[in-house]
């Protein structure tokens, strides 16, 4: 009951004209970012964060803008999957399998609107799940002391490699790299300079926005250049959209698929490290098992093969916000980027967020509901408009993306040193991606490094230097077990899941994380 009245207050915030306007802009830009092959939600949000900050918007409006971009990009991912057979981002990969055949059969418009409706169902239900689950998780999180928090961060790193990386050593390396970068600058406890070597630009540490935009957006531009040098893929092959209005009989037939996809997607979103890619993969594969055992229709343009993964990946987006908001531990690439947004706004996610800044949390959640409705209205009737974007050649769009990243970072820091640092991060990101080292743990290390250290040092102060405090409570022991399971399980099952996901992948160019 209390939750409901808080949510109502949230709606009062979200429906203010300025916030509503930002939600519309965010949904529009997000859908565009999602629709462009190569740019996923993580990149989309990363590019826009510095811009949002330099506009001097307050915490709630910035958050509303950026989460609308996040949800919008999750919706938009389906557009290029269906029309071009190129997923805009990794979670949209499974939508290609039946979406593109549908488009080839002249049902592109129907596939797009069906995908839009499925995205709505997935995202809407999972936002309801967020409302119910997050406050419960907060109650558990209030029992956490510094030692438990330290272990919780370890859980985040251990599970983050997840199914998307089969080489857990590389995930661990990436996390340590990020944590190492976080240590640069003044020590928060004693003020000693660490790893700055007298370079004045490093005294405040490395701003995580620089790392995020460099690692995500610029490395994407380099990857794109590598694949399309001297002749970018033409997008002229885009299929005609055709009839747009959804066929209600088709939607009714697909409702059970959407429901199952939503459940699976939400579940994989909440699990740390699984994310939207696993959500859509599970939703598609299990749907195939459930309704098309002999493999007669799936893969040949079955609408249920579009509905299930689209519901799945959008539900995962809402699910991933549960641990991010209630524990301060993001479950996916994009939520890691959103965590950066919160930290930059001096808002520390976690249980105290719900008591200290209820207006932020509930305003944000209400904005997600509002954004979903905006997205449904935008994505069903206006889908023809978004498909036009695909007519602009990516060889022109990619450089523009790079330049907007530069503009964002420069206008927020005003320093060319930071822009150069961003280029360095971009190149490093390209090398790491080539070597199959995941980037999300690097980002998370940079984001959480200081808090992880502070909690370790507090725990040690409490115990007077006894390291056993880290296993000193049942909660801590449970968390350690989760961490170990999260680290070891992908080694056992990850390779299988990954190779099956790879087998479904139509093109080798998909963006980082989700």
């Amino acid at each position: 009951m209390e939750t409901l009245s808080l949510l109502m207050d949230g709606f009062a915030v979200a429906l203010q004209p300025q916030n509503l306007f930002l939600a519309v802009i965010g949904c529009f830009l997000g859908t565009l970012m999602g629709a462009l092959p190569g740019l996923g939600p993580a990149n989309g949000v990363a590019i826009l964060i510095p811009i949002a900050f330099s506009l001097g918007l307050g915490p709630i409006p910035s958050l509303i803008l950026l989460t609308s971009v996040y949800y919008g990009a999750m919706y938009g991912g389906r557009i290029s999957s269906i029309l071009l057979n190129i997923p805009g981002d990794e979670p949209a990969m499974m939508t290609c399998l039946d979406g593109y055949p549908m488009a080839r059969k002249g049902q592109a418009g129907e596939a797009l609107s069906l995908g839009g409706v499925a995205s709505f169902v997935g995202a809407f239900v999972s936002t309801c799940g967020l409302v119910i689950l997050a406050p419960q998780l907060v109650k558990i999180a209030l029992l956490f002391g510094p030692a438990e928090y330290f272990v919780l961060f370890t859980v985040a790193f251990a599970t983050l490699g997840g199914v998307s990386s089969t080489n857990q050593a590389k995930s661990a390396f990436a996390a340590a790299l990020g944590l190492g970068i976080a240590m640069i600058g003044s020590d928060s406890q004693t003020g000693s300079q660490r790893f700055t070597f007298g370079e004045i630009h490093l005294f405040d540490g490395i701003d995580f926005l620089i790392a995020i935009v460099g690692l995500f957006a610029l490395s994407e531009v380099l990857i794109f250049l590598e694949h399309h040098r001297g002749g970018a893929v033409g997008t002229s092959g885009a299929t005609k959209v055709g009839r747009i209005l959804p066929d209600f009989a088709m939607i009714r037939r697909c409702l059970p698929s959407m429901a199952r996809g939503t459940g699976l997607g939400f579940f994989s979103g909440v699990l740390p490290g699984a994310g939207a890619s696993l959500g859509s993969f599970l939703a598609y594969s299990l749907e195939k098992q459930a309704v098309d055992r002999d493999g007669k229709t799936f893969g040949k343009g079955d609408p249920r093969g579009v509905a299930a993964p689209e519901a799945g990946n959008n539900a995962a987006a809402g699910g991933a916000l549960v641990p991010m908001l209630s524990l301060g531990v993001p479950g996916s690439g994009t939520t890691a980027v959103l965590l950066a947004v919160l930290l930059q706004l001096n808002i520390t996610p976690g249980p105290l967020l719900f008591t200290k800044n209820p207006d932020v949390v509930w305003g944000l959640i209400a904005a997600l509901f509002v954004g979903n409705i905006i997205l449904l209205l935008m994505n069903v009737p206006l889908v023809g408009l978004f498909t036009r974007v695909l007519l602009v050649p990516t060889r022109i769009l990619m450089p523009v993306v790079a330049m907007i990243s530069f503009v964002g970072i420069y206008s927020i820091t005003g320093s060319t040193f930071d822009v150069m640092l961003m280029v360095a991060f971009g190149f490093a990101g390209w090398v790491l991606r080539k070597l199959d080292v995941p980037l999300v743990p690097v980002i998370l290390g940079i984001l959480l490094g200081n808090q992880m250290e502070v909690n370790l040092r507090r725990a040690m102060t409490i115990s007077d230097g006894d390291w056993l405090i880290l296993v000193g409570s049942p909660l801590a022991i449970i968390l350690w077990l989760v961490a170990i399971a999260g680290f070891v399980l992908p080694m056992l099952v990850g390779r299988r899941v990954k190779s099956r996901m790879e087998a479904q992948r139509p093109e080798d160019e998909v963006s980082v994380g989700d």
């Binding site: 190492g180 240590m183 060889r395 022109i396 992880m452």
Partner: protein, 143 residues
């Protein structure tokens, strides 16, 4: 082999990191474990995982051919130069050239690339500076 080389770099980085951690100065207010303990842990994880890459490397990744690699390096250098000259030459000039270069390398004809460069620079200037009021680098000409 790539992973072994990578592991070698990682190990060198880890050792350097641990050494750099060892020279962190203590201040008058030091807690129980001090400012060096956590960096030591991080450095050790870096070292251990790097040794693992040397011992158990993954399959060779698909590296681009020499020409493509050169292309990536050139693009990085251009972006680096962009940042370097940004405060001297101003936003419009730098952005025009950097965008034109990238668009050209992605397969647009040279003259058209220049047009795209000018349009991008002016477009971003109008939207982000004139309309949204963001601070962009000012060159000698004031833009």
């Amino acid at each position: 082999m790539s992973d072994r080389i990578f592991g070698g770099f990682g190990l060198a980085l880890a050792l350097f990191y641990i050494w750099a951690a060892s020279i962190i100065k203590d201040s008058f207010m030091v807690d129980v474990i001090g400012p060096r303990a956590f960096p030591y842990i991080v450095g050790s994880v870096l070292a251990i995982t790097s040794i693992y890459f040397i011992l158990r490397p993954d399959d060779e990744p698909e590296w681009p051919a020499a020409r493509d690699l050169l292309e990536i390096l050139a693009a990085t250098v251009v972006m680096f130069l962009y940042a370097w000259f940004l405060s001297d030459l101003g936003f419009i000039l730098c952005t025009t050239f950097a965008t034109a270069y990238l668009t050209w390398r992605l397969g647009t004809a040279p003259l058209w690339s220049l047009v795209v460069g000018v349009l991008t620079a002016v477009g971003i200037y109008v939207v982000f500076h004139l309309l949204l009021g963001l601070a962009l680098a000012e060159g000698p000409l004031g833009f």
